[in-house]
Amino acid sequence: EPEVTQTPSHQVTQMGQEVILRCVPISNHLYFYWYRQILGQKVEFLVSFYNNEISEKSEIFDDQFSVERPDGSNFTLKIRSTKLEDSAMYFCASSLHSGANQPQHFGDGTRLSIL
């Protein structure tokens, strides 16, 4: 069964550094998402992406964050200048169509640790 894959599984970065988290969505999916889960808390929506532009974003997704689909397979989340509070699990997801009435398929996440 097709899967969403995320790399790396664990990223350790010094505060203030830039970090790029990578995702390969399911190949025929058209909608892409990033979520994060701070340890012990609920999963929070960051951004959705379709047709090379952001469809929707949350208040968390400020100017420090950006997303990109640099080629036909990868979908990346960049955090420009990391802060301690960015430490979390970051999940990528994809869906065939819009989130409305479509399940989203999640990767296993990247654990981001900011020192």
Binding site: Y33, Y35, E44, F45, S55, G99, Q104, G109
Partner: protein
Amino acid sequence: SQQGEEDPQALSIQEGENATMNCSYKTSINNLQWYRQNSGRGLVHLILIRSNEREKHSGRLRVTLDTSKKSSSLLITASRAADTASYFCALVHQAGTALIFGKGTTLSVSS
């Protein structure tokens, strides 16, 4: 609140018993979805129920939706140790694409 609120927060049962988890919400929704998360893993989609549906089944899972009460329930019948996980309801609002997750129910099934 825009998110669903699951109840109970934690549930411990024996193998073979049924587990029922509830989700309440306050806004209008397009659909409601249930996901499972095993420790340290990503979320796995279980069932999607649309706002005009009342009940859906998938194997040992049964989901109900009552839009008048703004609530949903997930029933797992004949539970197994492998069902041990956190279970989340997630809302999709009528104009949105985002999944809005609740805090989840942690289910422990002991053999």
